[in-house]
């Protein structure tokens, strides 16, 4: 290793910042990805926190990571394995050992690789690289801590504060490695530490020192040059994670529909940030009630919906389980409601900080009785915006609860996002009862085309009425136990949802549309499946991909699309729930499965392997 400076020209690169929870890796990861995005790269990032609880300093459980994938053109996932790892301590090195590409660069803080540190990470020997059998890596060992401290001597900081700047030193190094001008970083630091002038200056100094160290050092390694995207679509860009995008989608829908936005929620990992984000939006009049539990979360939302707001509730799997009964009420009452479920590893408390797609069946069926709801699944961090917008639109226009499934991976992952122009989004028109039909109106009078009942919001004179969870007469809306009426109402509630298929986009097959093999996915696996398919097509292996965002009802052309392929493989992060659902709907279509339940997203490489095998099978 360590020969001389070479500039590698790359299409895309994956960098992983990793260190102890207290080392500030999330911050540098964020800054670096922002920087890259501003300079015209596409980015996709993923923070990999330790489990919720803090673990002892230096321990394996305490490692916190942030991965960023940047590239010249569309980057679809945060990447399987890293080209560059920044490991601030031995634990970080150990935890990431399986996620390194051959020939990758590993930057370590020499000062944190003492015997004591190695012990904390349960190393047996003093040579961690050998012990981990890491041979083909380029190690840049830098005394980051001591150099940071040395550089800050004149700033009059206490030791703790000075040491805290070491993440900036590391960032400086990385900027050098990737040919990123560090002056683009200073605005971030100015904003972040606007109230602490000295700290800000110290951070800038450490950053500069790191950069200079890289530039001046004789320990040369490959450095990288990434093309920037020459022709991105014009417009304003930001970088956004899935939870924020979800919150923004609700805000946008509220504005478009003219309804005030209400969120009733109870904190739960990994959904809480939606509550945090909306709680900040008092400026836009958003009302958030942090409730005593999940049931109250949905029930306050049901009350708010009854009162005429665009009402939502946000949660994760265990919380969705608690909301089942109340979702049934919303089905029966036929009121709009958006229920966001950021899926995590289950069952029970399971793996709260990990990702999974195992709430699909729960979303479809987790309630008593025949109680159909709309189910939508967001596909990427930025798609969370559109998915939340669509969820709101369908909920309001079709007077129904909509369950929006996202997951820990896309909720916390982020990518570059072109700020949308709301004017080009479809309108959202609440089906308020027109005054013109006041005489014939009854609480469950429906638009016979869509089966949607009209909405009469409290406060409106002449439309006073009572609704509830008991079965109602189809015509008058009063309580009814009549057998045939129950059949009609059950059928009608189902029909209302089925008809929504007329109002959602059809499926679009990507990749080699005319191949024999179709990869089917839904929700948050889009990036990985798409990357795998693109890469195979690029290497001449023809394969198609279709991805479901609308789960219930399914797009109208679903059967048509599926029936065109000889081999269909449904890939999901569960034991096969969507595959089962498709079999239920289209038993005549033969379906293969690829499943993974490891709390982790797919790896593009494993997908390619699996698809290649499938191609070869007779």
């Amino acid at each position: 290793m360590n020969e001389q400076v070479k500039v590698k020209e790359l299409d895309s690169v994956v960098i992983r910042f990793s260190g102890d929870s207290g080392d500030g890796m999330q911050l540098v990861g964020n800054i670096f990805s922002n920087l890259a995005a501003i300079l015209g790269n596409e980015i996709s990032t993923f923070p990999d926190y330790p489990a919720e609880m803090r673990a002892p300093q230096g321990s394996l459980a305490g490692v916190s990571g942030f991965q960023v994938h940047l590239g010249a053109s569309k980057v679809l996932t945060p990447g399987d394995k890293a080209d560059v790892l920044v490991a601030m301590n031995p634990a970080a090195l150990k935890v990431n050992k399986n996620f390194l590409k051959p020939q990758c660069v590993v930057i370590i803080d020499e000062d944190s690789f003492t015997e004591n540190d190695l012990k904390k990470a349960l190393f047996q020997t003093n040579d961690p690289f050998q012990e981990l059998d890491l041979k083909n890596v380029q190690v840049i060992s830098v005394p980051i801590t001591s150099m940071t401290k040395a550089g800050l001597e004149s700033y009059g900081l206490d030791n703790k504060s000075a040491v805290r700047c070491k993440n900036m030193f590391a960032l400086g190094l990385i900027c050098w490695l990737f040919n990123r001008p560090i002056d683009s970083v200073t605005p971030f630091l100015k904003k972040k530490f606007s109230k602490k002038e000295t700290i800000m200056q110290a951070n800038i100094k450490a950053l500069t020192d790191g950069y200079n160290f890289g530039a001046n050092t004789h320990a040369t390694v490959t450095t990288y040059h990434i093309e920037t995207n020459e022709h991105p679509k014009k417009g304003f860009y930001t970088d956004i994670n899935g939870n924020t995008a979800t919150a923004y989608g609700l805000i946008a829908a509220a504005e478009k529909s003219g309804l005030p936005l209400f969120l009733g929620s109870y904190p739960i990992t990994p959904a809480t940030d939606i509550l945090h984000e909306l709680a900040k939006r008092k400026d836009l009049g958003v009302k958030t009630v942090q409730c005593e539990d999940e049931i109250s979360g949905i029930c306050t939302a049901i009350g708010a919906s009854f009162a005429g707001n665009l009402a939502a509730t946000s949660t994760s799997g265990p919380g969705l389980a608690l909301k089942g009964e109340a979702i049934g009420l919303a089905v029966m009452a036929e009121i709009p409601l958006v229920i966001v479920d950021v899926q995590r590893g289950g069952p029970s408390t399971g793996l709260p900080t990990k990702t999974e797609q195992s709430d699909l069946m729960q979303a479809l069926y987790g309630r008593n009785g025949e109680s159909p709801v709309v189910v939508i699944a967001a596909t990427t961090p930025t798609n969370c915006f559109d998915a939340a917008y669509w969820s709101s639109k369908l909920a309001v226009e079709h007077m129904t609860p909509v369950i929006l499934l996202t997951d820990g991976f896309i909720a916390n992952g982020s990518s570059t996002w072109r700020i949308p122009d709301l004017n080009v989004y479809p309108s959202i028109t609440p089906p308020f009862v027109p005054d013109s039909i006041k005489d014939i109106w009854k609480p469950y009078l429906r638009n016979e085309d869509t089966k949607v009942r009209y909405w009469a919001v409290p406060g409106r004179e002449g439309f006073e009425h009572r609704i509830g969870g008991l079965e109602k007469d189809y015509t008058t809306g009063v309580i009814s136990t009549d057998p045939l009426n129950h059949q009609i109402m059950t059928d009608t509630r189902q029909e209302k949802i089925d008809k929504i298929a007329d109002f959602i986009p059809e499926l679009k097959v990507e990749g080699s549309v005319d191949s024999d093999i179709l990869v089917v996915g839904w929700g948050g696996t889009y990036g990985h499946l798409s990357s795998a398919v693109n890469s195979m097509n690029a290497s001449g292996k023809k394969i198609a991909h279709v991805h479901f965002e609308f789960i219930n009802p399914l797009p109208k052309n679903t059967h048509e699309v599926l029936s065109q392929y000889k081999k269909i493989i449904v890939c999901e992060l569960n034991l096969g729930q969507f595959a089962g659902y498709l079999r239920m709907k289209y038993p005549e279509i033969r379906i293969d499965q690829y499943n993974k339940v490891q709390g982790q997203p797919f790896m593009v490489s494993e997908l390619i392997d699996r698809f290649t095998k499938l191609m070869e099978e007779k």
Partner: protein
């Protein structure tokens, strides 16, 4: 009050399905009457309930109404009120709905001091499911689910409400229509969560359970109707009163044992410290009369108003007025 409404404006034509003689009828009538005097339009009134015999009440109202799911009335009413504070929001609930399955939402609504009026019909039984004991059933009572008698002590709804820091609590008996109506009107006037416990007779499962207090004959001797600023006097001949001895309340006869009218406590429902209200609410026979009327009525910050105030405060200091503003306020760059 000068209301433009009559009780009829708050009724509707639905056939009422309670058992003949059920105490719920009286409460319904009082609510019709009270609302007509409060003067909020039926269209601006929302009546929310859970599940139970008592929770059927919204169906018999000419207002907006929502008969929801068991125990969740407080949460749903909270949502209604926060979403549209202009509505007058009422929750109708039973001892099971409110204090068993709904206990948590109840105490949190009370703590947050949402401006809703909770009418709790306490018949000490689950009526709708045909007779199981409830959290207000006395120890030892035999019901379908306690064939050998219950082995738990009941909640006193007032104590629980005060434990959750209630600012308004009133108690009435179903058969006393004027008092019930009066308390409802006061509850509506109160900004914040108002709890009205109505001792309600279930003719089927707990017939006569409140008889000791509700019987016309003995009511004056066994209950005391508390009125703001008035002496705590009761008895058929209005010659009994309450005095405080140390931390204990005692019932005395005026003119006996040296007690004069001046020794008798004066009711002040607006005392911030709930101690005396709590003691009054806990009184029981035979030693002490049962407290009726408005026991506590204190001003506090109510949640729905605080939500509005906070929004106004934030909006006064921001440039972000629309979604587009929000989008441009963050870390944004332009590609030209």
């Amino acid at each position: 009050m000068n209301s433009q409404y009559t009780a009829k404006d708050f009724k509707n034509e639905q056939q009422i399905k309670w058992c003949p003689g059920c105490g719920d009828f009286a409460v319904l009538n009082c609510l019709h009457k009270a609302m007509s005097e409060i003067g909020v339009a039926p269209a601006d009134t929302a009546v929310i309930s859970g599940i139970g015999c008592s929770s059927r009440l919204p169906y018999y109202m000419g207002t907006y109404g929502f008969h929801t799911i068991h125990g969740r009335g407080s949460a749903i009413a909270t949502g209604v009120k926060v979403a549209n504070p202009a509505l007058s929001v009422w929750q109708i609930t039973g001892d099971g709905d409110c204090l068993a399955i709904g206990g948590n939402h109840f105490i949190h609504a009370v703590r947050r001091n949402i401006d809703i009026n909770i009418v709790l019909l306490n018949n000490k039984i689950y009526g709708l499911t045909k007779g199981q004991y409830s959290p207000t059933t006395e120890r030892g009572y035999v019901t379908k689910s306690s064939p050998y008698g219950t082995i738990e002590d009941p909640f006193n709804p007032a104590e629980l409400a005060f434990g959750a820091r209630a600012n308004f609590f009133a108690r009435t008996i179903d058969v006393d229509l004027p008092s019930t109506t009066e308390c409802m009107i006061a509850a509506a006037a109160h900004k914040g969560t108002a709890v009205i416990e109505v001792l309600q007779n279930c003719v089927i499962f707990t017939d006569g359970i409140h008889k000791y207090y509700s019987d016309k004959e003995n009511r004056a001797d066994r209950t005391i109707y508390l009125r703001q600023g008035e002496k705590m006097i009761f008895g058929k001949e209005s010659n009994k009163g309450l005095v405080l001895q140390g931390l204990d309340l005692k019932a005395v006869t005026i003119g006996e044992d040296g007690y004069t009218i001046d020794d008798i406590l004066t009711h002040d429902a607006t005392l911030h410290d709930p101690t005396l209200h709590c003691k009054l609410a806990a009184m029981e026979g035979p030693e002490l009369p049962l407290a009726l009327g408005i026991i506590r009525n204190v001003e506090g910050i109510n949640y729905d108003q605080a939500v509005v105030d906070q929004i106004h405060r934030v909006q006064a200091n921001t440039q972000i007025k629309t979604f587009a503003d929000l989008m441009m306020s963050g870390n944004v760059w332009e590609v030209k």
